[in-house]
Amino acid sequence: AQSVTQLDSQVPVFEEAPVELRCNYSSSVSVYLFWYVQYPNQGLQLLLKYLSGSTLVKGINGFEAEFNKSQTSFHLRKPSVHISDTAEYFCAVSDYNQGGKLIFGQGTELSVKP
């Protein structure tokens, strides 16, 4: 069965510093990958997605992620974070066996400090 591991439960970082949130998934022939952000007391908002094509995916709010098939990873990056980026970030994966259903990672709490 498909599974997703977010390697860091909490990532504290100072404002304007770069950040990387790590995500690994179990191997599959074809996967579809997503990053979502959840602000307090809200639902999930899509940051970016990888369905096919270029392995470097750009999303909203200056975030990007790189799909690495050999390492089964889909790490999220931002070169310079803002206080407003403080939130919970979820990596999710789907494949043909899931029929469009998403498997979510445990989440990474990004805390940006001034």
Binding site: Y36, L51, K101
Partner: protein
Amino acid sequence: EADIYQTPRYLVIGTGKKITLECSQTMGHDKMYWYQQDPGMELHLIHYSYGVNSTEKGDLSSESTVSRIRTEHFPLTLESARPSHTSQYLCASSEFEGFQPQHFGDGTRLSIL
């Protein structure tokens, strides 16, 4: 911007009550989902639907039930609420074709006393 609405946003209610959590979307999506999320934890799929009159149980066992009589409406019902049902419930929808991203509502935070 996603047009998916959940009501109520917050609900505090006593044990044994019947509860219905509402979820509606205006995007015409065929697929709809219910997730359960405890504070600071991952999302667990409890129900999903691929269209009218189609409902399936998700990966996490739940005592709740769902119905899909109209495309835009996917309510979740608890016949007799218990403290163990205290959680946040998130509704989502997506297009039927391909592996399109899911759009989420803002959730219902349910607290059973």
